[in-house]
Amino acid sequence: MNGMGQMDKTNHDENTTLEERMKNRDGKGWLILWPLLSVFLGLFSSGMMMLLLGHNPIHVYWDMVNFAFRDIYNIADIFAKATPLILTGLAFGFAFRSTLFNIGAQGQFYMGCVAAVFCALNLKGLPSLIVLVVCLSASVILGGLWGSLVGFAKAKFNANEFLISMMSTYVALAIMNYLLRGPLIEMKGEYPQTDVIPESSWIPSLLPHTRLHWGFIIALLAAFFAYFILWRTTLGFKIRAVGMNRNAARYAGIDSRKIFVIVFLISGGFAGLAGFMEVNGIQHMLVQGFNPLIGAEGIGIAILGNAHPFGIVLSAILFGALKVGGNLVVQTSTIPSSIIGIMEGFVMLFVILSYYIQDRISVSRSKRQLKAKERGGHK
């Protein structure tokens, strides 16, 4: 008889793994609904935590919203806070599209900070635009190069990128701390921090009398850049192919190793750019122990945004709002600032749970459809 090939994988065709399902929601409406539900549950659970300190969560959240939207300054601040988060979110999300785990955005961010502050301090007297372009490029390049080392280790030695990028963050931290205590220390030499950078290197404000600066627009452009690369270029095509099936990519003549380096270069560039935003846009100096969770928050934002550049922008704005509202509540009540971390953590956990529930729903719906079809067939 004409053989059908002997190594059958029964039912392989019609069934998918869970992760594939995760990426494949049903309709566009669900895309928004589930994250919203997760955010709601996350805030609800955080509210329960507030009860522990004797606060009425409804009041707290009411205050939060009121404070955050009380005046233009605070509204603008939401977007100012979102700016670096968009970029660290992209740093994780972009690599995630290639199923690479860039846990080292924190370190790449620090390298970006160092590059930006170094250029800003050493380019006194030059026109503002030139200084800004140099600072921006330097932070992107240094962050990117630092990240690409991880990609290189992965490509050349098949090292575990998760572990290496994690370790590289601590090395970057040590380098930054050394520079802050030595070569870059302020004139007074008292604290491990730099001098304030000259005003010519500050990113111009987008709205007067707020902290919102042009960096937000640049971050939006970066998100669009990420989207464009991924879905409009051959490079992005290859990146996604490597991410979804590394083996098939190899058979298709795609050199995954090259992709690893490029992806980490771009991802690191995003994180480095976040450094420029924080140094030249907000802090106007570099201080030791600065923004220690921005990398991890980027991961959460990327997950909440389904690793899609536009989803990341929205999630980053949400996290920005939590921060602004949370900070204001913290300042005006006895709730500690760690409540912001709790809110972020809860939201992330509920997002992950929602993946599971969505999967269950789609499985049982599929079963029901089959049963219905079968009954229809018997009639």
Partner: protein, 306 residues
């Protein structure tokens, strides 16, 4: 004198790394990476301090730390093993959450004390006879109870993993879960129970930082040490003895940095010494083939969907 101090310190610093990396070895042998290890360390430290402070008993503090570690591991385990969510993603979420909740609950319990609250840390227990051996006696046999426990756990871990049926099951689960399933064992149960046990050990390891020698809790008390334990598991080739050696090396590097820092030796910037363990990890990771890596590490077992 310096040598004794250095060795003693090295052993002390490597104690939690031994416990944590051993726990990681067991979990990863079943195919589950405990990415939440940093968070479990942190909440273990929190639990240890809180338990000890409130009860006034260090032993109860250790028990509470193990309990907290088990609880966090249970959340992580259920989400990654039962609900089959991504380990790195879930672990990261828990790590972020741990930072927030640790500080928050500290605040809930103790308000804002003017001075950091402290407990008396674990005392060193000189072992009879052995502690009198010159140089190494004081270094190795005048340690606190956790160090002795860690030193005992390493050979016990080795024995369980390689000499018992339980160990065989654990190793098999990470290599071919379908074989384990087909042999009539419950893959998810094996994984979950191992992760719970590992969580208890990670909690204990975390408690070492709070009540093992400092006697207080701060939110940056772990500072990446959980990741080091995680890395040691890789470096130790998923073998308890490898983990033991790895932990000693890291402990020694850590101790050297502290000794040099306090001795006023200024030739090498302190930051570089701090960075050395991490650089070592990177070098070791890229220069060695991981021939022992469990075959299905990091992937959930999906039974009914081929």
């Amino acid at each position: 004198m310096i040598l004794t101090g250095l060795l003693a310190r090295a052993l002390q610093m490597s104690t939690p790394l031994m416990i944590g990396s051993l726990a990681e070895v067991f979990a990863e042998r079943t195919g589950v990476m405990i990415i939440a290890i940093e968070g479990i360390f942190l909440l273990g430290a929190w639990g240890g301090f809180v338990g000890a402070y409130l009860s006034g008993n260090l032993f109860l503090g250790l028990l509470f730390a193990m309990f907290v570690g088990t609880c966090v591991a249970a959340i992580y385990g259920v989400m990654t093993i039962k609900l089959k969510q991504h380990q790195i993603v879930t672990g990261t979420a828990i790590n972020i959450f741990a930072v927030g909740i640790g500080l928050y609950l500290y605040r809930v319990l103790f308000g804002v004390p003017l001075l950091p609250l402290t407990v008396d840390p674990l005392r060193n227990i000189p072992l009879p006879f052995l502690s009198r051996i010159p140089i190494i006696g004081e270094a190795f046999f005048t340690q606190n109870i956790l160090t002795y426990i860690a030193l005992l756990l390493m050979p016990i871990g080795c024995w369980i993993l390689f000499r018992t049926r339980l160990g065989l099951i654990i190793r098999s689960t990470g290599e071919n879960p379908e074989a384990v399933d087909s042999a009539g064992l419950n893959v998810e149960k094996v994984r979950l129970l191992t992760v719970l046990a590992a969580g208890a050990m990670d909690g204990l390891a975390g408690a070492f930082y709070s009540i093992g020698f400092l006697g207080l809790y701060t939110n940056d008390i772990i500072g990446g040490r959980g990741w080091i334990a995680f890395a040691i598991c890789f470096l130790g080739n998923w073998n308890p003895m490898g983990a033991f050696l790895g932990a000693l090396v890291f402990g020694l590097a850590d101790a050297t940095a502290i000794v040099i820092q306090t001795s006023g030796f200024k030739l090498i910037p302190n930051e570089f010494l701090i960075a050395i363990p991490y650089i070592l990890t990177i070098i070791a990771t890229i220069s060695r083939k991981h021939f022992n890596v469990p075959a299905v590490l990091g992937t959930p077992y999906i039974k009914e969907r081929k």
